[in-house]
């Protein structure tokens, strides 16, 4: 429906695309993705996530595709096509995307210099501070670590003041340590830049840490788009396929205390997190905590004299039917966040667990990945 002002479906990215490739792969998408926050395209390798991203960017020419960005048409089949350099899309790939013949600083400013002054909303000073790359700019590209290169790529993409940021598995090529180091920057960037982000990922951990909503892809199709909270609330979520059920708590991360621990959460639901898992950002900030259900146990009594530091009073909301001899118990914390615990069916019957019951959730602190 067109509104009288002529602007319709603003704030949405509409994609209709069919693409058949020689290797029998077929992309078939007809979807609208909201343009705010972080949307993850999640699915297994080869399900078409990257191809879809390339169609959105205009790098993959699907002949009869329709792509409309917040009311502006980017592609109408063969009739109309806006080339990538006029779409103002920030693009960040897995790896190797810095221009090797330019210095770090020239890479950073490559797009900024080509952005008309009137369109510049983000500027080098704030972006380099946001991503912690001030000190890198004098260096040569080959002197940067993988994580530093990725942060530089992110900064370079942000400095065109993009209307949309497309991230193609930006962390996939990094080792676990570097991933953890870069995560806080990514989430801060998502929160502070105000640029909508579409991120391709096959790693539940990345999605749970960064995304606001998830588009689940399978065999070239988007099967459903739902909020991260909705995706984490259903027991059959594809996010749980590999590492099992997990929940995401949102809260404020405090300063590092004398013993290296950091407080996380609200007054009613505080947890202790070991400091060295917190990346290199030491300032207190709002963040998410990903907790695997198998690292959460339940107790009927308030636990005393036990090495596990973290216990939260919770209310059982739902007990899922057992799968593979494990039962997932969905609980609400005092501040109404969902926390999943994985216990054995025997424990459920021995403790007499039932919805509505008040119990204590015990969480191993080592399980808390920032």
């Amino acid at each position: 429906m067109m509104s009288p002002s002529g602007i319709s479906h603003s704030g949405m990215l509409h994609i209709r695309a069919r693409l058949r490739r020689a290797d029998d792969f077929e992309l078939n998408v007809d979807s609208a993705l909201p343009l705010d926050g972080v949307t993850a395209l999640f699915g297994r390798s080869g399900c078409g996530k990257t191809t879809l991203l390339r169609v959105i960017a205009g790098l993959e020419r699907a002949q009869d595709a329709t792509v409309r960005f917040a009311g502006t048409s980017w592609q109408q089949g063969r009739r109309q096509f806006v080339p990538l350099h006029k779409r103002r899309i920030g693009l960040v790939f897995q790896e190797h995307s810095l221009l090797p013949h330019l210095s770090a600083n020239d890479n950073l400013l490559y797009g900024y210099r080509r952005t008309p002054e009137a369109l510049r909303r983000l500027h080098p000073a704030e972006v380099t501070a946001m991503l912690g790359i001030d000190d890198l700019l004098e260096r040569r590209i080959d002197q940067l670590s993988g994580g530093q290169r990725q942060r530089l790529s992110l900064g370079r993409a942000l400095l065109i003041s993009p209307q949309l940021l497309l991230l193609d598995e930006p962390l996939a090529a990094l080792d676990t340590q570097t991933k953890r180091e870069i995560m806080p920057f990514l989430s801060r960037m998502a929160a502070q830049s105000g640029v909508p982000i579409i991120m391709v990922s096959h790693a539940p951990e990345e999605v749970e840490r960064l995304a606001d909503r998830v588009a689940f892809m399978h065999a070239g199709q988007i099967e459903r788009v739902e909020s991260l909270h909705a995706a984490l609330a259903r027991p059959d979520s594809p996010l749980f396929d590999d590492a099992g059920a997990a929940s995401v708590l949102e809260g404020r991360l405090g300063e590092v205390e004398a013993d290296g621990m950091r407080r996380f959460g609200s007054a009613g639901a505080a947890l202790w997190v070991s400091g060295d898992t917190a990346g290199d950002a030491v300032q207190p900030r709002n963040t998410r905590l990903r907790i695997l259900a198998r690292d959460v146990s339940l107790s009927l009594d308030a636990p005393h004299r036990i090495s596990i530091q973290n216990h939260l009073p919770v209310t059982i909301e739902r007990i899922d039917p057992p799968r593979h001899h494990r039962t997932v118990v969905a609980c609400r914390t005092a501040d109404q966040q969902l926390l999943l615990a994985e216990v054995t069916p025997r424990a459920v019957s021995q403790l007499g667990l039932a919805p509505g019951q008040h119990v204590y959730a015990l969480i191993k602190s080592v399980a808390l990945l920032i």
Partner: protein, 228 residues
């Protein structure tokens, strides 16, 4: 032995101009062809690739013969030129320049295609996403990153044009100051039993060719002529 007479200097001048113009023209022509060839593997591309490579396998006389037929006074191009009041192209410098461009085409196209293939699409896509249009991308990303390919293409084209003989003899004959290049002059000297003169020019070309190939191989081993 190395005293060069006016005839030698004239041949050197014709040869040098021929090589220089051929190289400049080919860099302009071969770049878009090589770029297009590097973009995929369609049948059309294979056809063009094969046509471009033909001079590598054909006897130069075959190319020279067809060019004589087409560019000469009775040929399609030659006749048209005559009709609009111009001269046909057989036995002219312009004629052998066209022949050189076609004959040396693979030596420009193949190293450039190779360089563009090695470049991959990532840097170009990055530059596009950062707001660079095509010309901007070419000069700020593609050219700086494939410079080695351009150096190899230019050097090989120049050197290969220097070595032309058959095509020029067929199409250009041996007109001093117009089509008499060094290779033809050496042939003339040898025919006239003037071995000293033939020797000094031959040795010059030999040294020049070696130095050129040495430079090319040291600049970029990956884009070696062995792949041609």
């Amino acid at each position: 032995m190395f005293s060069l007479g006016p005839a030698e200097w004239q041949a050197i001048s014709v040869t040098f101009r021929l090589c220089l113009y051929t190289t400049l023209i080919l860099l302009v022509l071969a770049t878009p062809i090589a770029w297009w060839l590097a973009q995929g593997r369609s049948t059309a591309r294979i056809v063009v690739q094969a046509i471009v490579a033909l001079p590598l396998v054909l006897p130069p006389t075959v190319l020279g013969f067809y060019l004589l037929v087409v560019l000469g006074p009775r040929g399609v191009v030659g006749e048209t030129l005559e009709r609009i009041g111009l001269h046909h192209l057989a036995f002219t410098f312009e004629g052998i320049l066209i022949a050189s461009v076609l004959y040396s085409m693979p030596f420009a196209v193949q190293p450039l295609t190779e360089a563009f293939n090695n470049l991959g699409r990532r840097p170009v896509e990055v530059a596009s996403s950062l707001g660079a249009g095509f010309a901007d991308r070419f000069f700020s990303v593609i050219f700086p990153l494939t410079r080695g390919g351009f150096v190899v293409a230019a050097t090989l084209t120049f050197a290969h044009t220097l070595g032309e003989f058959g095509v020029i003899l067929m199409l250009g004959g041996s007109i001093p100051g117009e089509t008499k290049v060094l290779s033809v002059l050496i042939y003339d000297h040898a025919e006239a039993m003037n071995y000293d003169a033939a020797h000094s020019l031959s040795l010059m070309l030999l040294i020049f060719a070696f130095v050129t190939l040495f430079v090319v191989y040291s600049i970029n081993r990956r884009l070696a002529v062995a792949r041609l």
